[in-house]
């Protein structure tokens, strides 16, 4: 298998990954740190899969901060196509160019032809932008499962060889390989071919200990005792069969809310009045109130 252009790795060890991501405001566990380290070392894209709100996108952002790279983001949605993901010719401008040259003499076909398929008329979309950059780059392909199957085929070329073929310009190969992070909520199974090219990282809700650390690092003014209570309550909520389990970001929102309201303990009344911060479905709220004996 041809290897993409090699370059010096960004991280020296797993512990280094952990330290630098923590500095960037993301607390990784061993699994995350190891997988990120390997993605960097082996030069493979990283596929992060897990329920909403477990910090998948956040990981990519922190990675960009930790390595001093620019984050280029391709948000996937249904109907995403080549013209939106890769590149597009600015045909309006091309047309103007042709019309502008019509009056003048000596503008023969060859010059116009070469001219309108030049750099000036190329609209670079996220994938092409990421490949052409010479500075360190983190390419985030967000919610890959939302895109159609055809987009995966497009990604295959880009992710395995880090090159893009534009018929009029030739093949553009990455001078500096971007670090690629794909995220997925697993609403559908991604194709085997795509998964095989990636390192797989399944993210789930963090352990109680790690979540407490996250809360304390993001909301430093919160009392540690309250953080402990908060995390345990969130875990109790997650154990219920809810339609949408509280995510990490919602835990953080809740911590912030408690802080703003000046509450120093999480009792029944406090939970009841702030439950809307973590549970966004009426049926979930009812269920939580019944199971946790809030009334």
């Amino acid at each position: 298998m041809p290897r993409p252009p090699s370059q010096s790795p960004q991280f020296s060890s797993v512990a280094d990954v952990g330290k630098r991501l923590s500095t960037a405001g993301y607390l990784p566990d061993t699994q995350i740190a190891t997988t990120v380290f390997l993605a960097d070392r082996l030069g493979k894209p990283l596929l992060v899969e897990g329920p909403a709100g477990t910090g998948k996108t956040e990981l990519a952002k922190a990675l960009a901060t930790a390595t001093g790279s620019e984050l280029i983001r391709l948000q996937c949605y249904e109907g995403l196509d080549e013209a939106r993901a890769l590149y597009e010719w600015n045909y309006k401008k091309q047309l103007l160019r042709i019309q502008a040259s019509q009056g003048t003499d000596g503008a023969d076909w060859d010059t116009v032809h070469d001219d309108i398929f030049g750099e000036e008329f190329l609209l670079s979309r996220p994938l092409l932008t990421a490949i052409r950059r010479t500075e360190p780059t983190v390419l985030l392909i967000d919610e890959t499962d939302k895109a159609d199957i055809e987009v995966e085929g497009l990604l295959l070329e880009v992710l395995s060889d880090f090159q893009v073929t534009i018929p009029e310009l030739g093949t553009i190969t990455a001078t500096r390989r971007p670090m690629v992070v794909l995220t997925s909520n697993a609403t559908r199974e991604l194709s085997e071919a795509l998964k095989r090219r990636c390192l797989y990282l399944a993210l789930d809700y963090p352990s109680a200990e790690r979540e407490r650390e996250i809360v304390l690092s993001r909301v430093p003014d919160l009392a540690p005792g309250l953080a402990e209570q908060l995390v345990r309550t969130v875990r109790a909520l997650r154990a219920l069969e809810l339609k949408k389990s509280p995510s990490i970001s919602e835990t953080l929102d809740w911590a912030q809310t408690l802080l703003e309201l000046g509450l120093d303990t999480l009792d029944e009344a406090a939970v009841r009045s702030t439950l809307g911060v973590v549970l966004k479905h009426a049926s979930d709220q009812d269920r939580a109130a019944a199971e946790l004996r809030l009334n």
């Binding site: 797993v14 330290k19 309006k92 199974e189 399944a202 109680a208 209570q229 999480l266 479905h281 004996r293």
Partner: protein, 480 residues
């Protein structure tokens, strides 16, 4: 490479890895050749003395779905076991991010050579304190001690056996709950939120303890009897392979988790098909207006949106006791569909049929809905045993207009008629009137037609599909 963790096979580290990959394949996780090659590369990159790094590193290339992880972890522990030495080199290595690493460390217990009863009581005391503190590492260490002290079976010629039930019986951690609750709760916190939260915390810690004990027993048994033997018995089927009809209550929650994304996938799939080919007829006016920007040349054409085809789905579901596990999941599927389409109608039957669509309002809870169907819906007419013939007749009679040329009909049931008449003509007529019709049967194909099963006869008038587990359900969804 100097530090090879665990006993390497005859082929050195590479051979050992090969054996591991093969065991993973045998457990039903597909691993391609390129993945195996990548796994070998992992070995050259990670610090082999850091066991957790190796575990996560190999997982990153060998696994492709989150559901495969528990199986993988069991096999990893067998193939790369912790050594029996009390301190390993890994302990001296920089802990860093690996705060949940496995470092056996020193025994925290000071067990005198008393008899078994004393020993158990002493360890129980110790366990209670550990559970209260909630230090996972200490708990794991304790599990190892406990298996060593309490888990031994009768020595036999084939070697020493270890049993997790012996440990659990001696420690009976479930009886510690009351004591732990008192420890975790302040006075006056009883009964309310705090108690529920504390209970959940204790539940989590007990589950962790049980898992640690089981894993330790597997490790010891593997050391005594060879890991291949253990690997065969220890690996539970993946969640999507568990038989609907034989699902234990322990499997149910797991199965529900496996089915939930599937239901969502089905809904996404159906709605995707609805939105595909979004371009309909040319919108002349919009195109001309847009062309003004390019000097009157219509560079971009605009189209009217396609008329939306609304799929109508009628679900007819057997909710009798014999298929209880199965119907639960199919009702979940119905619920997921209801959230995306208005044109879904659900009917449940035992020996009479009733419409249950009203229980599946978007936002309603599936567990509640299932209970309410049992309580409120009029599905039992006579004796509470399945009667497909009557059920179909009631359905065709009372809801004659439900099935039309745009309707897809989905029948869910095992087709066991209790030797009553199967009502074939009624079903055939329903199938003829619908756009498409499928029957999902949770019984294995070879049993169709045996005993009181009329599945083979139904199969002649309707497309009958075997649907025993979540994997088969997924397969059906993709062909729909």
């Amino acid at each position: 490479m100097t530090g090879v963790p665990g006993p390497a096979g005859s082929g050195g580290l590479a051979g050992h890895l090969d054996g591991f990959v093969r065991a993973i394949r045998e457990a039903g996780i597909p691993v391609g050749i390129s993945q195996a090659v990548d796994a070998a590369e992992i070995l050259t990159v990670v610090d082999l003395l850091e066991r957790e790094q190796l575990r996560h590193g190999l997982a990153a290339v060998l696994l492709q779905r989150a559901a495969q992880r528990p199986t993988y972890d069991v096999l990893f522990d067998l193939w790369w076991p912790l050594s029996d030495r009390r301190r390993t080199v890994a302990d001296e290595a920089d802990g860093g991010a690996s705060d949940d690493g496995d470092e056996p460390g020193e025994s925290t217990l000071d067990i005198p050579g008393g008899d078994d009863v004393d020993l158990a009581a002493l360890m129980r005391e110790q366990l209670a304190q550990l559970l209260l503190a909630g230090d996972e590492e200490a708990l794991r260490r304790f599990a190892r001690e406990a298996v060593e002290m309490l888990g031994r079976g009768q020595p036999s010629p084939s070697g020493q056996s270890f049993f997790s039930y012996r440990v659990l019986r001696a420690l009976s951690p479930d009886t510690l709950v009351a004591q732990l609750l008192t420890g975790l709760l302040a006075e006056g916190d009883r009964g309310g939120l705090a108690e529920q939260v504390a209970r959940q915390t204790i539940r989590e810690r007990l589950t962790a303890l049980r898992a640690a004990i089981e894993s330790e027993v597997r490790r010891r048994t593997a050391a005594e009897k060879g890991r291949d033997k253990v690997a065969k018995n220890a690996v539970r089927p993946l969640a999507d392979q568990v038989d609907f009809l034989r699902a234990q209550s322990g499997d149910l929650a797991e199965l529900r988790r496996a089915v939930a994304p599937l239901a969502r996938r089905l809904a996404v799939r159906l709605s995707a098909r609805r939105r595909l080919g979004r371009e309909g007829r040319l919108d002349f006016r919009k195109t001309v207006r847009a062309s003004l920007g390019t000097g009157g040349v219509p560079v971009v054409t605009h189209h009217r949106p396609r008329k939306v085809h609304k799929p109508e789905l009628v679900v007819l579901c057997d909710v009798s006791g014999s298929v209880a596990g199965f119907s639960h999941f199919t009702l979940m599927l119905t619920q997921a569909l209801r959230e995306h389409f208005t044109g879904v109608r659900a009917f449940a039957f035992v020996d009479s049929t009733d419409e249950v669509t009203r229980f599946f309002r978007p936002g309603a809870d599936v567990v509640d809905a299932v209970q309410r169907i049992g309580r409120e819906a009029d599905v039992v007419g006579f004796d509470g045993h399945s009667d497909y013939g009557t059920a179909f007749e009631v359905f065709a009679d009372r809801w004659a207009s439900a099935v039309g040329p745009r309707t897809s009909l989905l029948v869910l049931g095992d087709g066991r008629t209790n030797y009553r008449q199967p009502g074939l003509p009624v079903l055939a007529d329903l199938v003829r009137r619908s756009r498409s019709a499928h029957w999902l049967n949770p019984e294995p194909r070879r049993l169709w037609g045996s005993g009181d099963s009329a599945a083979d006869r139904y199969g002649e008038v309707i497309d009958m599909v075997e649907c025993r587990n979540a994997a088969q359900l997924a397969q059906f969804v993709t062909t729909l």
